[in-house]
């Protein structure tokens, strides 16, 4: 059996165990519900065209605008219909538009003659969407790398804590153990995101926001490779952190730097997302690139070559962290008394090759 086969076996076990873990299943279902709710509910709640109470004489232009018209005998009845909540608005002689507390835009525009509008940049993104989409990307990367990174650390600690690691190390190369865990974590993370994305896409189609979908397409396409490498980067740190301690209770102490490495870029991207210079810098820094670069692509700020350069930088960083993480893992895996310092782990590799 070679390292490859051992890696596959290790990864298969991790996935099997995780798929039976109730917490994992519940959190996945929870994410799916959020994705479905976020895409299906808003169009439903916005409730379609307004209902207008109006006398038959004035109903013509309102019908033509596609509004729901309730004909009433006179203006008093029209006003009463609005007060009773039977209609969203009423049009009375004047003409004047009546509504309870909010001007009904669709009724107003049906009655006015609008000047011709020529959009000079018809592809530009709706500012609300432009804020929400990067937030969603950053949030997904943040939550997923955090969740699955912690799980990799926990799985490493479990093997250290129960000492089964001695049996494992005697049977397979240490690298295969680490590679299997990273592989399983990546597959599970991507699988969960893919599922959420699937539900979100279905929800958008159902809620008739397919225009947004075609806008998101390329950004999502870039998000996948950035996410993958970004995840390896973060997961390597979690693996090293997990290997340094012996008990699950002690993970807090070593995980602080890892948490910061995920959290700071997350907030930087959220708060600086309209600062062009800051975003350009963030989109090249390995820790923030997974969220910042897809965002710049989405808003159309980045030139075609930019994601490639950022991706190469991220790749170099991810490989570097993976190698370093593996070394710390190998150096501390079998040190089962107390917490191991990074320096000791780095210097001392106990296992035979």
């Amino acid at each position: 059996m070679n390292t490859m086969q051992a890696t596959r076996l290790v990864a298969a076990r991790e996935i099997r165990v995780k798929l039976r873990d109730r917490t994992f299943l519940i959190s996945t279902v929870f994410f799916l519900l959020i994705a479905a709710a976020a895409t299906i509910l808003p169009p439903l709640l916005s409730g379609g065209p307004s209902t207008v109470a109006v006398t038959e004489a004035a109903a013509g232009p309102l019908r033509a605008a596609g509004l729901e018209v309730r004909t009433v005998p006179d203006d008093a009845a029209a006003e009463q219909a609005v007060r009773d909540g039977d209609a969203d608005a009423a049009v009375v002689s004047g003409p004047a538009v009546l509504a309870m507390n909010e001007a009904p835009d669709d009724v107003v525009s049906a009655l006015s003659s609008a000047p011709a509008v020529r959009l000079l940049n018809p592809d530009a993104v709706d500012p609300v969407v432009a804020f929400l989409v990067p937030f969603a990307f950053a949030f997904i990367f943040f939550v997923t790398s955090q969740t699955f990174g912690v799980q990799i650390a926990q799985s490493i600690i479990e093997e250290k804590q129960t000492r089964i690691v001695e049996i494992l190390v005697a049977a397979v190369p240490v690298r295969a153990l680490l590679a299997g865990k990273m592989l399983a974590g990546t597959i599970l993370a991507l699988g969960q995101i893919a599922l959420v994305a699937l539900v979100a896409v279905a929800g958008m189609a159902f809620g008739d926001s397919s225009g947004l979908l075609s806008l998101l397409g390329p950004a999502i396409g870039w998000f996948v490779p950035f996410f993958l490498l970004g995840f390896v980067l973060i997961a390597s740190m979690w693996a090293a952190a997990g290997a340094l301690v012996n008990r699950l209770e002690d993970i807090g102490g070593v995980s602080m730097p890892v948490q910061l490495a995920v959290m700071l870029p997350f907030f930087a991207v959220i708060f600086l997302n309209d600062n062009v210079t800051a975003m350009r810098v963030l989109s090249y820094l390995p820790f923030s690139a997974p969220t910042a670069m897809p965002l710049r692509l989405f808003t159309g700020d980045a030139a075609g070559w930019e994601p490639l350069v950022a991706l190469v930088l991220l790749l170099v960083a991810a490989v570097g962290f993976l190698v370093a993480g593996a070394r710390v893992y190998e150096g501390s895996l079998l040190r089962t008394n107390g917490r191991t310092s990074i320096r000791t782990a780095w210097r001392e590799r106990e296992t035979l090759g």
Partner: protein, 300 residues
């Protein structure tokens, strides 16, 4: 020495942790088909030695060979190991993790399943196979641990304190399984604090103290080498006269009942004659010194 070529051999193994040297020039053989007991006090170096055999720890100097070949990971994959501090996955079923470990040791999924089922049957866990490990009693977890060490029918077995925490029934089960492996031609090295168990079990014995091997060889050989001939005598009245008998060292005297050692090479018959001359002799027989006594003698 042994004529068999299937020997696990440690040759001049040193190991230090920091400036504390825990193994000094450790050399001994574990022969195929024999149960070798590895005995020593706490901190004597048993676990370190076993970890080095399994490649979990590197030796600073010296080497370990199996059938004359230095150990590699490929060779070690065919070893079975039960570490001192027990551990399997608490939240995985017994059967599933034994299968998994079998696969990690190179078995196909199908072979691992078959080996697991027959082994769980053998150690009396067939009914609990589907249960999560953490729901088993400590004794049953220990049985599962043995199954995990044996699932791939290892060429060599290394077991660190395999009997600690086991009830006598479980000890018998495990002993039977281990003997089976030894009879099939595998060297079996096991450490234990329980000298009585080792005494009952081992063919060969390795005694370690302060990181050095104090004695190694077959049990009988060690007995002959490290203890003087001992006898038990029961007479009619007081046996206190033995004190003045030449070549005799009294070990225990209780009225008419006495246990004594003879100077090596001395003949026991004159003592019997002397006893008969004083009156009836109810019993006179050689006593095998216990392992504990050999151990005390050697580990000083």
């Amino acid at each position: 020495m042994y004529t068999v070529t299937k020997v696990l051999r440690l040759d001049g193994v040193d190991r230090s942790f920091g400036d504390r040297q825990v193994l000094k020039n450790v050399s001994f053989d574990v022969a195929a088909g024999r149960m070798t007991g590895f005995v020593g006090g706490n901190g004597a170096g048993k676990t370190t030695t076993m970890r080095i055999i399994l490649g979990v720890l590197a030796a600073d100097a010296g080497q370990v060979t199996w059938q004359g070949v230095p150990l590699s990971r490929e060779v070690r994959r065919r070893f079975g190991y039960m570490p001192e501090e027990r551990g399997l996955y608490p939240k995985m079923s017994v059967r599933e993790q034994v299968i998994y470990l079998g696969q990690l040791h190179g078995l196909t999924a199908e072979a691992a399943r078959r080996a697991t089922d027959s082994l769980l049957e053998r150690v009396g866990l067939a009914e609990r196979g589907g249960d999560l490990l953490e729901t088993l009693s400590l004794g049953n977890q220990q049985r599962a641990q043995i199954a995990a060490a044996l699932v791939h029918e290892p060429d060599v077995l290394v077991l660190d304190e395999p009997f600690s925490g086991l009830d006598p029934l479980a000890v018998d089960t495990i002993v039977a399984v281990l003997r089976e492996r030894a009879a099939a031609g595998a060297p079996v090295l096991f450490s234990s604090h329980q000298l009585d168990v080792v005494e009952r079990l081992c063919d060969d014995l390795v005694i370690i103290a302060d990181g050095t091997i104090r004695a190694a060889g077959s049990r009988e050989q060690l007995r002959a080498t490290y203890t003087s001939p001992r006898f038990e005598l029961v007479v009619e009245s007081d046996a206190g006269w033995l004190r003045d008998q030449p070549g005799v060292t009294l070990v225990d005297l209780d009225g008419a009942h006495a246990v004594f050692d003879l100077v090596p090479g001395a003949d026991e018959q004159p003592v019997l004659h002397a006893a008969l001359a004083r009156g009836p002799v109810r019993a006179f027989r050689p006593v095998s010194p216990s392992l504990a006594e050999i151990f005390r003698e050697v580990a000083q």
